[in-house]
């Protein structure tokens, strides 16, 4: 058994390898991106970037139908895109184990909202596990596949920025063997969700939740850590670490499965504590269910709902004395916002749009930085793919005088993710607005991952890149950086210049798939499961 210091994302990848996963798919999104990049280092797993999260989940569902264990990873808002297949897959269940890793972003370090993805577990009636460090990320991934097959359900694994991008020490295991070989097996009553079949599956799903609840009362994934005194804490995930930090003597019920909750275990624990806190980031998800059991707890009346927790924020909410740092005279300091890279082709586009006084409906990517000074040339940004459809809507709403000012802007990866349908609608409805695809041939924001328009696949195999000019619209014209049209509205424009940072590669070694220390303090051995063709790029 060897030890390694791994990020949560590296540990999820290692867990997938050890669990015998054969197929993995994802669309990049911070803080989840490095999961698939690390999975791709294991040649035993077929890893691919999908155009969007829905496609990635459907690929994984297909692999499960075929009898293979399959995993997908996405950021929290990615699960909104994949929600459609997820909700019905809960009814279908699985053949090969199916695990969905979803990474929340409390504090919105790089996201447009801080939705709490635990609600998807309740909505979809599927179990959700939540690790508290990298060691649990690895162990829970392995367990999730066992649970998936034992209870015939997709399993959600919830991470967040601090788990995914935090590093801690893990013990590595071996890849499981003896899993059944994938082969065709027909089971239409289970796999074909016609209303008649789905009606039969729904009661199965309800019984599954009851079975999981009972399982959670007996399994060590939910554990009580005995403390001293009369204070008890129910907590899970990263919040457990903060609870241990600020209340080292409290009794702790540490939940590894946050849905469904182990009701009897919670009742037994609560009966022993005079004061009971629920310490959880974001929404009162556990708190409200515990209160519905008739148990008195303190939660969101003292702990914040907005933003991420830190040990200091948790201590402040509990009214504990806080150590003070050195006294520094206060003075206003200049901010240091991120910028578009030197040489980035987006700069010229936004400069021109600003000069033309365009009303720009934007989208998600590097180019969203065009909203910041000094460019300040983006007026809306909602979600992946909205840039062009928002432009359609704004143009429909406006009178003729202002319509020509409307420009929808999105990148090539976003266009292929979910903008292609927006453009079809703009063309179909003959809307007099302009759409610009900022085609830099890469998914730049998340660290320059390839996509169907850029070429090679994740393992580095050549692929024929989709030509946007053909697929966008017959009237599309390629546009250089200096001639942005807004005076003659047409459905589609392309700005083509490769990402300025495209060929940047880190001089540091890429995240090792399996960085091992055989004997802490003496021998050092770095091993990788295979030499990589090219180190995966990753956001700094």
């Amino acid at each position: 058994m060897s030890q390694a210091i791994l990020s949560g994302n590296e540990a999820f990848a290692r867990g997938a390898f050890e669990a015998g996963v054969r197929v993995a798919s994802a669309y990049p999104g911070t803080p989840s991106t490095e999961i698939l990049e690390n999975v791709a280092q294991y040649p035993e797993i077929d890893s691919s970037w999908a155009p969007n999260e829905k496609v990635s989940l459907e690929v994984a569902i297909g692999a499960s139908f075929g009898g293979a264990r399959a995993m997908v990873a996405m950021k929290h808002v990615g699960l909104n895109v994949a929600a459609d297949p997820f909700m019905t897959m809960s009814y279908i269940g699985v053949r090969g184990g199916l695990v969905v890793v979803v990474c929340d972003d409390p504090e919105m370090h790089s996201s447009q909202n801080e939705q709490d993805s635990r609600h998807y577990a309740r909505l979809g009636k599927a179990p959700m596990l939540e690790p508290a460090d990298s060691a649990e990320a690895l162990a829970f991934t392995r367990l999730a596949f066992e649970l998936s097959e034992q209870f015939d359900t997709p399993v959600l694994l919830r991470s967040n920025t601090r788990i995914s991008h935090g590093k801690s020490i893990v013990t590595l295991g071996e890849r499981v063997t003896g899993l059944p070989e994938p082969k065709i097996e027909r089971n239409p009553g289970k796999f074909v969700m016609l209303p008649g079949n789905a009606r039969k599956r729904h009661p199965v799903v309800e019984q599954r939740l009851l079975d999981l609840k009972a399982w959670g009362c007996d399994h060590e994934i939910n554990r009580i850590e005995e403390g001293e005194g009369e204070i008890g804490v129910i907590t899970a995930g990263i919040s457990y670490q903060y609870a241990k930090e600020v209340l080292p003597k409290a009794h702790i019920l540490k939940l590894g499965m946050v849905y469904p909750l182990p009701e009897q275990l919670i009742r037994d624990f609560a009966a022993r504590c005079k004061t009971l806190y629920v310490i959880e980031e974001l929404d009162p998800f556990i708190e409200e269910q515990v209160k519905a059991m008739g148990i008195e707890v303190k939660g969101k009346e003292i702990f914040p709902i907005c933003g991420e927790f830190t040990p200091s924020r948790v201590a402040a909410a509990l009214g504990l004395p806080q150590p003070q740092g050195v006294a520094v005279p206060s003075e206003p300091l200049p901010n240091r916002p991120p910028n578009m890279c030197p040489g980035c082709s987006h700069r010229g586009v936004f400069f021109a749009l600003k000069r033309l006084g365009a009303f720009v409906t934007g989208d998600i990517g590097c180019y969203t930085l065009g909203a910041l000074p000094p460019l300040s040339a983006m007026d809306t940004c909602v979600c992946m793919g909205a840039g062009i459809s928002n432009a359609t809507g704004v143009a429909k709403a406006l009178g003729e005088a202002e319509r020509s000012k409307v420009v929808g802007v999105m990148g090539d990866s976003t266009f292929l993710h979910s903008g292609i349908t927006s453009l079809m609608d703009m063309a179909y409805s003959n809307t007099p607005a302009t759409a610009i695809i900022l085609d830099n041939r890469i998914t730049a924001m998340t660290g320059r991952q390839d996509h169907p328009g850029s070429g090679p696949t994740l393992p580095g195999i050549d692929a024929i890149p989709l030509t946007l000019r053909r697929s966008a619209a017959p009237s599309a014209s390629a546009t250089s950086r200096s001639s942005i049209p807004t005076t003659s509205p047409g459905p589609s424009r392309l700005s083509t210049k490769k990402c300025a940072a495209r060929n940047l590669r880190w001089s540091s070694p890429a995240v090792p798939a399996c960085s091992t220390v055989t004997d802490a303090g003496s021998g050092v051995r770095r091993s990788s499961s295979r030499p990589k063709p090219a180190p995966p790029a990753r956001p700094a």
């Binding site: 210091i5 460090d133 991008h165 241990k244 080292p248 050195v326 901010n335 240091r336 000074p373 700094a540």
Partner: protein
Amino acid sequence: MSPDVKNILLAGVGGQGTLLASEILSETLMLAGFDVKKSEVHGMSQRGGSVTSHVRYGKKVYSPLIPDGQVDVLFGFELLETYRYLPTLRPGGAVVVNDLKIMPSTVAMGTESYPENIPGKIRAVCPEAKIVDGLDLALKAGNIRTVNTVLLGALSQRMEIAEELWLAGLKKMVPERFLKENLAAFQLGRQA
């Protein structure tokens, strides 16, 4: 808060190699037999934004984030970013900082101004602060991109970790072809 846990906060600008330095530091601490946790935020940092990395080590570490006012060593790669996080330093804590100014876009645009005399202000609260000319030493080591390793060398002088463990950490994390200049940079930083 656990008294046996030590806290190092790295602060710099995206692109300076702060995160690689925190990787080498964490590996070294693991080799030294400590429980280690490290936390940072990826994403925007690549594009010239502020970067911090929390590194905590000890017998048993829970929170990956350092509690406010509990930084034992503030390890800065740029003056303004170090000054920004100075209030997180515990009284009696140490500062190791690169003597380098990188102008934020807000300063370049003229909407905000870069503070005057940051080294003096740092020394006012931490008289023992080590201010290193990382760029000069990196050039002497033979590669301008080894500034982060120079700074690690300077940090290593202020931590009770055997030199061979630092070297082992470096060898593990730095590609073979860049190793020689990084080892030179580390030694120059140690002597600074």
